[in-house]
């Protein structure tokens, strides 16, 4: 470097350094934002804008191709239909059965797998199979088991000695008369079967989730509890359960949202039938939107379902927080 170049460099150096510092400071401070920005933009494009558009659409109707503002008329149409009331209850019953069955079965199976059984890896692989199947495939398989007269197990269910007095046909036997007028309870056999099929499909993920959490529970803690005289149930209740609670909350969260929004199994297994016995809200939304092409009313129902989803999320978070605090 010549002396003149050194002089020039020395002359520009302070301002460049200061500028670089400002730049580095700016980017280092805002780096998280820049890293998140692509995700934020994607979310805006695929969630926020469609969400707002759905709300807009819920106030519109199409008549001969013309979009007309109808205020809350679509909501009124949705809420006043008999199909909506029935599907609301079906969703509730389905959700309770599906979440409870999957969580309990998932917890029990995960506990068993956590005991280092022989061939544990094999069991885990087998258990994982339903998870990789699509809803439609699972629905068709479960349907083939019970199609009246032709299904693999239809003769078993139709046997009056096993299911008195006349046997049942899961896909077609209607629900028993409602115990309370206007509330479709007890549910039809098809809804119970749908719960089993859905639980079977969801079980692998939940089992693995809980198993992973169980494996983080220190063996020393369990052994200490045992030495202190805690029996199996008390150990689970007071040691294991609190330690894996955050994972259980995640599982609960996942199942609840899947349960409210899933449509594939209903579509392929029961088609909402018999009658409307398995018509849950998500299926009703599908049929109004994509079957009857009534986008305004479908959007109104989707707004309602978004509110349900948000409520469930907030409820789950609240339970989670209070459990943690406790």
């Amino acid at each position: 470097m010549t002396s003149s170049a050194q002089a020039a460099s020395a002359a520009t150096s302070p301002s460049q350094t200061s500028h670089r510092h400002i730049k580095e400071g700016f980017f280092s401070r805002t780096l998280p934002f820049w890293l998140l920005l692509p995700s934020i933009l994607v979310l805006i494009v695929i969630q926020v804008i469609p969400g707002l558009f759905s709300f807009f659409l819920s106030t519109q109707t199409f008549e001969r191709g013309e979009q007309i503002f109808v205020g809350l008329r679509n909501f009124e149409r949705v809420f006043s239909s008999s199909a909506f009331n029935a599907s609301l209850f079906h969703t509730l019953f389905f959700l309770i059965g599906y979440v409870a069955l999957t969580m309990i079965a998932g917890f029990v199976i995960a506990q068993m797998l956590n005991r280092k059984l022989r061939l544990s890896a094999f069991y885990i692989t087998v258990i994982f199979v339903p998870w990789v199947l699509s809803d439609v495939v699972v629905g068709l398989i479960f349907r083939l088991f019970i199609v009246p007269d032709y299904g693999l197990f239809s003769a078993f269910f139709a046997d009056p000695q096993i299911f008195p007095p006349r046997g049942i046909s899961i896909l077609t036997t209607p629900a028993a008369p409602a115990l309370v007028s206007g509330v479709p309870f007890p549910p039809a056999p098809a809804l119970i079967y749908l719960i089993f099929a859905s639980a079977w499909k969801a079980l692998p993920f939940i089992t693995l989730l809980i198993l992973a959490a169980l494996q983080t529970v220190s063996r020393e803690v369990i052994e200490s509890a045992s030495i202190d005289g805690a029996d199996g149930w008390r150990t689970v209740r007071y040691i294991t359960f609190p330690l894996i609670l955050p994972t259980l909350i995640v599982a609960l969260f996942n199942l609840t949202l899947n349960g409210v929004n899933g449509v594939g199994l209903v579509f392929s297994l029961t088609g909402g039938g018999p009658g409307t016995a398995t018509e849950v809200l998500s299926y009703l939304l599908y049929t109004i939107g994509f079957g009857r092409l009534d986008f305004g009313r479908a959007a109104a129902l989707s707004v309602f379902m978004a509110v349900i989803n948000l409520t469930l999320i907030l409820l789950t978070l609240r339970i989670s927080r209070s459990e943690r605090e406790a």
Partner: protein, 486 residues
């Protein structure tokens, strides 16, 4: 420090604002349909201006312009076991013929669509200003939805009336393509009436003519472990049963679904009698349980002759195979040929359904045809194609392969393709008896679901329920929301 942070915040806000704006602008994409420039004038003044941004079809070398069709069939699918093989083969055969005939002028390109998503895709494309086809296959169950609620088809009235073949069209078929405003929105090419396929060995004296006759024969068949009838009785496919056996029965009893003014009229004595009749069929075990299983599985007992008769659309011949006759004779090509052969051999016959004394049997009438969607870029190509299909040289082929029914054009009925026993019987069984199930109802999809749910409840879920009261409840639910002026 404060100043630098303010500058940073401002810069950050500016950059992120610009990015969000860029994304939103990119997403806005094509201009809204209503803001689109008017379509360049077409040669036919009757053609309706499209609503989305149209561009003239890009002429290829030599001035040849491409037009796009949407069919449920796929010419590239050569699977001989495909349910849609007949239509697939038709397109594979005719696309080159058309393109050769119109070389230098029009080139036909087909984009296959799933049959149950075609209407939805079109409406989404029209309303979203997306790519729409120039011509699309439709059936009359989609017509009301497509045309009225969502306005996705062009008004073809003046153009169709100016065509030389218009006066040869069956009036019933034209009415199925006519909107409540009296305008014609589709070109009817094939009629698909509902009729009864029955095993002649199970009904050796022909199909019963009255409900009483049917019930007595059904009892006799039951003693032989044969179901008298199988039908689509579930609420699946959003109440599709409404368009099939339910309408056939109610209409044959002199009933129907509408009052002729757009209102639902379900609670009437004829309908009550018809539901009583179906209820008796179910409660006495004259129909198999699979009738209520949905997904078209009610066809199975007909295939094995465990059920003696099967009311369905004329196009059912394609799907009900292989067959085993009561005599044990097998029709086992596993193609539509099985039913054709069984009919030709006299094992299966076609008939209208039963009707009470003094009434005429009736049935639902569907129509398969073509529409030109709003926003079509090459309506001239579409019109040239429709004229080509309506030409006597090509019409029968389309009716057999795409329509799966009988021709809407009278002269085509004399074509060799329709002289088989199957077509002769089908035309004879349904001549002048059928009509579109929806009548004047303005929201058929909604009506379809409400009616199917009500009738299903009465015949299966609660066989002791008061029929008139339940029909009235369904009628009130529809009329309060969807009747004109509601």
């Amino acid at each position: 420090m404060f100043g630098i942070r303010t500058i940073r915040n401002q810069r950050l806000a500016l950059v992120s604002g610009a990015l969000v704006m860029a994304v939103l602008t990119a997403c806005a994409g094509a201009p809204a349909p209503t803001q689109a420039p008017a379509q360049p004038p077409t040669q036919t003044p009757a053609a309706e201006a499209p609503t989305s941004a149209p561009e003239p079809a890009a002429p290829a070398a030599g001035g040849e312009s491409t037009f796009v069709s949407w069919y449920q069939y796929d010419e590239t699918n050569t699977d001989e076991k495909s349910d849609e093989r007949v239509g697939n083969a038709y397109l594979r055969r005719t696309i080159p013929i058309f393109n050769e005939e119109f070389k230098g002028k029009y080139k036909w390109v087909n984009q296959p669509q799933a049959w149950d998503k075609m209407t939805l895709n079109l409406i989404a494309a029209v309303q979203g200003g997306g790519e729409v086809p120039d011509v699309m296959q439709v059936d009359s169950t989609a017509v009301q939805t497509t045309l009225y609620q969502n306005g996705a088809a062009q008004d073809l009235t003046d153009w169709i009336k100016a065509q030389p073949w218009f006066n040869d069209l069956d009036e019933g078929a034209v009415s199925a393509c006519t909107g409540l405003d009296g305008k014609i929105y589709c070109v009817p090419i094939a009629e698909t009436p509902q009729l009864v396929f029955y095993w002649s060995d199970h009904f050796p004296n022909g199909y019963p003519r009255t409900p009483e006759d049917f019930l007595s024969q059904a009892e006799a068949l039951k003693q032989k472990n044969v179901y008298a009838i199988t039908f689509f009785g579930s609420t699946d496919f959003d109440g599709n049963a409404t368009t099939r056996f339910f309408f056939t029965t109610l209409a044959s009893f002199g009933g129907g679904y509408d009052d002729g003014k757009g209102n639902m009229l379900l609670n009437r004595p004829e309908n009550v009698k018809a539901v009583e009749f179906i209820r008796e069929i179910v409660s006495k075990g004259y129909a198999p349980e699979v009738v209520f299983a949905g997904k078209f599985q009610e066809e199975e007992p007909m295939k094995t002759a465990e059920a003696a008769s099967f009311p369905t659309g004329i196009f059912g011949y394609r799907y009900v195979n292989p067959l085993r006759a009561p005599s044990g004779k097998e029709y086992n090509t596993k193609t539509e040929q099985d039913m054709i052969d069984a009919i030709q051999a006299g094992d299966v016959k076609l008939s209208a359904f039963v009707a009470p004394e003094g009434k005429q049997p009736s049935c639902g009438l569907g129509v398969t045809g073509l529409i030109i969607p709003k926003g079509a870029r090459n309506p001239e190509g579409a019109r040239a194609y429709i004229n080509w299909v309506m030409d006597q040289r090509n019409n029968a082929d389309w009716v057999v392969a795409i329509g799966g029914g009988v021709p809407s054009l009278d002269p085509t009925r004399t074509a060799a393709a329709f002289q088989s026993e199957f077509y002769k019987q089908a035309i004879q069984a349904t001549a002048g008896l059928c009509r579109p199930w929806q009548g004047t109802l303005t929201n058929p999809p909604e009506a379809q679901k409400i009616i199917a749910t009500a009738i299903y409840k009465l015949i299966k879920e609660d066989p002791a329920a008061d029929i008139a009261a339940e029909l009235q409840k369904a009628q009130d639910e529809y009329n309060s929301q969807y009747a004109p002026g509601s």
